[in-house]
Chain length 382, copies 2
């Protein structure tokens, strides 16, 4: 663990205002020269970058000491690579990694993100999508996993709320400053997330959202977590970029299907078709934890229908049971004819059925022990 000096932290704070998220050239320069030297070189006009004029202009407008104090008043700090709180899984992004992360909140980001799942989806979510996202997030959070999302309307909000509802931990990764309430009407939700979880951004305080920032933010959501769940996504949706990052990073990509008649699920179905090998269809929180959890831990139970009484019977005995009359009892040879079996085998089966309480003897005749509804969907138990 490398010690981050205060001057380095100040330099990184300044650079979060100078460079846009995901600018690999800037990360490469910081790796090569160190953040303090990059700042000096921008001021001196000697940084080897074609963006130097823009960097210089932005640096002149930067006041990192003010930013650090401003954020500290809101339970915030700048988490830098090398800090104990730095989530090292972000290093999987290579030169696409954030320079540093502004964090506001009660939760230690590294601790909180060790066992975490992101849930993303459409802003224009349906009641179905919000319901499923909320339920899944609650199950995931209840099992001690952190739910990471983007605090947008729709699926994001439902995921955060689902985790908060069970007093779980949730983390919002923003495409604006950690002190900016965007979307504005999610201000109260954002404050709750900060109070009980964490709000994270690679952008300096006060920065506003832009479309490229949304897209760059999605790589952080994917990298921070062990897997990404997409709940509803239109064919053209930001959630698909998060999904792509998850696959590229070797994280689990989990997708919730929906009605094929719903445009809000169309992007999910495209992903399940296109990423056939890489995307997993999931239907509940337990299946999500089954994928991201350690082996033997957090396992989903395989889905089984209710056992039917026929399950324990061999094929011939099932055949005999089918041949039994429902009401008026029949002689053994007539049952044997109907079942297509010879009499000794039928007698053995009848004995087994009687023991199981399924056949009833009336003198020398036999019938079903209880009435069965007309032959119906094999899905139903008799």
């Amino acid at each position: 663990m490398r010690h981050v000096s205060e001057s380095e932290r100040l330099a990184l704070a300044a650079l979060t205002r100078v460079a846009e998220p995901g600018e690999v050239a800037m990360v490469a320069l910081v790796d090569q020269l160190g953040a303090e030297e990059v700042v000096r070189a921008i001021r001196a006009g000697t940084l080897p970058s074609d963006k130097l004029p823009a960097y210089a202009a932005r640096l002149r407008a930067a006041h990192p000491e003010v930013d650090l104090v401003h954020v500290a008043r809101r339970a915030g700090r700048l988490v830098c690579p090398g800090d104990l709180e730095w989530p090292t899984q972000l290093d999987d992004l290579g030169a696409q990694r954030p320079l540093a992360l502004w964090v506001r909140g009660a939760v230690d980001l590294r601790q909180g993100a060790v066992r975490s799942v992101s849930m993303v989806g459409s802003r224009a979510a349906t009641g179905y999508g919000e319901h499923v996202a909320g339920e899944m997030a609650a199950v995931i959070a209840e099992r001690g996993w952190t739910v990471v999302s983007g605090a947008a309307y729709g699926i994001d909000s439902a995921a955060h709320r689902g985790a908060l509802a069970v007093e779980g931990v949730t983390v919002a990764v923003l495409a604006c400053g950690v002190d900016v309430a965007y979307p504005r009407s999610n201000a109260a939700l954002l404050e709750r997330i900060a109070a009980e979880g964490a709000i994270v951004s690679e952008l300096a305080p006060g920065c506003s959202v832009t479309r490229p920032r949304f897209l760059a933010r999605n790589r952080v959501i994917a990298a921070l977590t062990r897997g990404t769940v997409v709940v509803e996504a239109a064919v053209r949706s930001g959630a698909r970029t998060t999904a792509k990052h998850a696959v590229d990073l070797g994280r689990h990509l989990m997708v919730v299907p929906g009605p094929v008649t719903s445009a809000a699920s169309a992007g999910c179905h495209v992903m399940l078709r296109e990423y056939a090998g890489a995307a997993q269809l999931v239907t509940d929180g337990a299946e999500v934890l089954d994928l991201v959890g350690s082996v033997g831990d957090d396992l989903a139970l395989p889905r089984r229908g209710p056992e039917t009484v026929d399950d324990g019977l061999d094929a011939d005995t099932r055949q005999v049971k089918e041949a039994l009359p429902k009401r008026r009892a029949a002689p053994v040879d007539r049952i044997a004819l109907k079942a297509g079996l010879h009499v000794p085998r039928v007698l053995a089966s009848l004995a087994a059925l009687e023991t199981a309480g399924l056949a009833e003897r009336v003198g020398d005749y036999w019938r079903l022990a209880r009435p069965i509804d007309e032959v119906s969907d094999a899905a139903r138990t008799p």
Copy 2:
């Protein structure tokens, strides 16, 4: 093509009443001795089978000449292996193949089944499932493909009706005699299927349904077609046995997802999870035809969202566009600061944006050429 003699046809007609569907031992005996010799051996009590007494009793009750005449009066016939009308793809079943098929209807079974898809699913279907099955069947039938199903309530009926609605060909494979209306309230539908398509069964006329017969019937549905589409299926459902047969036979297995909150789709989701490699998620008829159709034929168009104006722009120009004020125009250096780019690059991007009709010059100042709604779901076009 082997000629089927009338005495052989009579013998096979009798055996469809003697053996249960899918009795591999009977098929093996017919392959070995010939159908006429098997009938003789049953009568003589010399057939090497532990089911001989049952076979003999059933044979005594069989009247194959009567059956053939009875069915012929209903536009029916017994199609035997070797007949021109025999669908040779059933031979993929090996010893599980039907002995012969009773067919009623206007359509030649072999011709009708060359390009065919089966659609199966829950009897207890929802409005969603019936709607999707009907629409898919209509698209498939409209493109000249035959829709094969089982004439049950729910998905089966919706599939048949969808094909009939576009005057397409549909085939019902029954688990009872071709002259038996089961379920009874589908009698009118069955008569329409017979009039415009075909009704098929390996059971002799008058035979009634049993659960083993339903399960055995499903292998014929799977084998007859190039692929099986499951629309809705409970976790425990007969449709899953059809799906299993399709996979085992190397046919396409296609599954329609649904809401994860719907028990009627739970079996579909289990299949998509369990047969991850073998099952394909499909959302419409075109995707089905894409899978079962010949290469270059019946292809589904890949789903794409609407193109956005941003699609043709490079990353820097998109960044500049994001930095443009919506209303009050700004000088180039302020836009460059906001975009994090140097002025010459910004000027080049502004020229490109102006050409694309996206930026507007106001004296030396610039703004967006038209108002854009607040930053919204990437799914929407600006």
